[in-house]
């Protein structure tokens, strides 16, 4: 997994609550059996004027000039700021794969869909929860200021504005550790294989019906 330490990135605002995973990656693309290549269809329904199909030849499609991702000033954005309940809805990890593949490294919002939040960490992509007032500061400053950037420092757990205002965010120590070091958590879990086997042995006696075919 890719590491996450410090990202100093261009900010793109997504000013609506409840941006769901269906909006991030529409269902027709879930037919893919790959993990990669989802960047070009990120926010597909909003981003293109013509409907998208599963075989993904995006080069010939017509971008919607009114959708924020297509504004030239946000080209190369790495940090997304969003409103409440970002990534709600389905469990599709494709949503994170698409944001990551497009080039985003972090998303900042007051709250997230739980599954999206979990999925993010598995991909070296950082979801940051900050109070709505703090996120609002970014929205207000970003709009009039072209080239607005934020610095995310995971070790320090801070997001810093161009004027030097630092907002501190919370994150589980374990997740932070994995992300900072790019650790594969399956490998970490398998270090406890014996403990898992012991647990299984105990449960098999207590509740044998749980282990029926």
């Amino acid at each position: 997994m890719q590491k996450f330490t410090v990202v100093d990135g261009l900010v793109m605002p997504m000013d609506r609550p409840n941006v769901d995973t269906d909006a991030i990656v529409p269902k027709q693309y879930l037919k893919s059996i790959k993990r990669s290549g989802f960047g070009p269809i990120l926010f597909d329904d909003w981003r293109y004027l013509d409907p998208g199909e599963a075989d993904m030849v995006t080069a010939h499609r017509r971008p919607n000039p009114e959708f924020i991702l297509n504004f030239p000033r946000y080209a190369g954005a790495e940090i997304l700021i969003a409103r409440e309940n970002f990534g709600c809805g389905s469990s599709r990890e494709h949503a994170v794969w698409a944001l990551d593949d497009y080039g985003f490294r972090a998303v900042i919002a007051p709250s997230f869909g739980d599954i999206f939040y979990n999925n993010s960490f598995k991909n070296g992509f950082l979801p940051i929860r900050l109070p709505a007032e703090d996120v609002d500061v970014f929205f207000r400053e970003c709009e009039p200021q072209e080239g607005y950037r934020l610095v995310v420092d995971l070790a320090e757990q801070t997001v810093t504005t161009p004027r030097g205002q630092a907002m501190r965010f919370e994150i589980d120590p374990f997740r932070k550790h994995c992300l900072l070091n790019g650790l594969d958590d399956i490998e970490l879990t398998l270090q406890h294989a014996d403990t898992i086997r012991e647990y299984e042995g105990r449960r098999r006696k207590q509740a044998p019906w749980l282990f029926r075919g």
Binding site: R16, N18, D22, E200, L210, F211, R212, G213
Partner: protein, 467 residues
């Protein structure tokens, strides 16, 4: 010491080990897989040279991509076909039990699991699908996971988890005649909002919940995720145990007494602490219809669609405006003036036998309105379909002008050929009314099966209780 909640009990029984910060390794008893979120997980497993930990814990079934029309020729769309073939191949390679597309037991994973007794009280249940919360109706801890977590469970039979907070939603009193589980859960979401349950496991309690059948309880827990909660749970009682016992994956006869004794402990202790409590009065719940693009945007049938101008929170008001524009509904439109083009009765929320009975009861002897382009019933599983046919429900639907289809997710998310065209409006018994959910540009109104049936007859929303 305070007592334990139901969630605490099931959680504690599955902790394999715990870090100092409370991060736990949680053992998973049952792992359901379907074609959309498992392929990349199996690929990851293979690339790392790992084997599945315990294949008997897994049950596979294709549901999202399968056609609901005649299947004898297989799947026409090559991309969908490859995905379903990949599931078949992965299951065959590892000796995983799978109900393939043409198996009579095939259906939507959240209908099939409980129907087979593969979901049991007290289990931890996961699936790469957010509506795994459905299985919490059995006093199981059930939640959706992403593909990386699917791979983690395949490889280790465990998940790395942090415990969530406890919320209890009590629906007290008795719901009025004709009020269905769907109305109850939509009313709950309308009350707490789509992010109201974020970070919590919700336990649904109270007389109105107790009075529900297992089908109704599954409908309620199914939509816990639409309230932001990864898991919803309901305590075990005789209704639960009677439903489970005797099903193919249920305890062997020799284990039944022990299982029953263990299961009857699966409820919150009287002195358990909840971090948040919400109480609703069942008698006040009316038939619900969503008007917007988030399940919290819900109104009652004899009311009007709200006006964003009356909303004090500017972010919320802007969201409402966007939703009304997308749905093409002026503010303050009476809900019963909303005319529809299509009707979909199905999905893991409302495609079980009881749902089909409720819809058929409304429809019997009547006709779908001329203005309806398509009205379809998609049973949740092959076994539900067969049961319904034995009861003659298919004839009632067909005579009224409904199409009677093969089981699967179908127009709940429109990954197969069943979808809305741009601008079309649908009365749907599914769980999500997001933009484009049922087809790009399509407009979805979430309702109960009886309300969908009544709307099909009238061509617009009406109070199903008057039918």
């Amino acid at each position: 010491m305070a007592g334990k909640t139901l969630y605490d009990k099931v959680w504690d029984a599955h902790v394999v080990r715990e870090e100092d910060d409370g991060t736990a390794l949680l053992y998973i008893d049952r792992h359901f897989i379907h074609e959309v979120t498992s392929a990349q997980a199996f690929e990851g497993l293979k690339l790392a040279g790992r084997q599945p930990w315990r294949t008997q814990a897994i049950l596979g079934v294709p549901d999202h991509n399968v056609p609901t029309t005649d299947r004898s020729g297989g799947i026409v769309d090559p991309v969908s076909r490859l995905q379903v073939d990949t599931l078949d191949k992965n299951c065959a390679e590892h000796g995983i039990v799978e109900f393939k597309m043409n198996d009579p037991r095939q259906g939507i994973v959240h209908v099939v699991g409980p129907e087979q007794g593969a979901t049991l009280p007290g289990m931890t249940v996961v699936c790469g699908d957010s509506h795994t919360s459905t299985h919490g109706a059995f006093g199981a801890l059930a939640f959706g996971i992403g593909t990386s977590e699917v791979e983690h469970v395949l490889a280790t039979q465990c998940l790395v988890q942090k415990k969530s907070k406890n919320m209890r939603v009590t629906v007290k009193g008795v719901a009025g005649a004709g009020i269905e589980a769907k109305d109850i859960v939509l009313a709950i979401i309308g009350e707490i909002g789509t992010a109201g349950g974020t970070g919590y496991t919700i336990e649904f309690a109270g007389e109105a919940i107790r009075n529900l059948s297992m089908e109704g309880r599954m409908t309620v827990c199914n939509m816990a995720i639409e309230a932001g909660a990864r898991a919803g749970m309901i305590g075990v009682d005789d209704t639960t145990i009677d439903y489970v016992m005797g099903r193919p994956f249920a305890p062997a006869p020799t284990d039944r007494n022990a299982a029953r004794d263990a299961w009857l402990l699966l409820h919150s202790d009287a002195d358990a602490h909840f971090d948040k409590e919400v109480v609703l009065d069942a008698a006040a719940i009316r038939p619900q219809v969503t008007w917007g693009t988030s399940p919290e945007m819900v109104a009652v049938i004899n009311d009007v669609v709200p006006n964003p101008a009356c909303e004090s929170d500017p972010v919320k008001a802007a969201g409402m405006e966007k939703a009304l524009a997308y749905m093409d509904i002026p503010a303050e439109t009476p809900v019963s003036d909303i005319c529809i083009d299509k009707v979909f009765i199905g999905s893991c929320t409302n495609s079980r036998i009881e749902d089909l009975r409720a819809a058929a009861a409304v429809i019997k002897g009547r006709q779908v309105a001329d203005t309806i382009k398509l009205a379809m019933v998609v049973p949740g599983s092959g076994l539900v379909k067969r049961q319904a046919e034995q009861e003659g429900l298919d004839k009632i639907f067909r005579a009224a002008g409904f199409e009677w289809r093969e089981p699967g997710c179908s127009m709940c998310l429109a990954m197969n050929a069943d979808r809305l065209e741009p601008g079309e409006r649908c009365a749907s018994t599914s769980n999500r009314n997001f933009e484009g959910r049922q087809g790009q540009g399509g407009r979805t109104h979430l309702v109960s099966p009886a309300m969908a049936a009544a709307a099909a007859l009238a061509g617009h929303f009406v109070d199903a209780r008057e039918y």
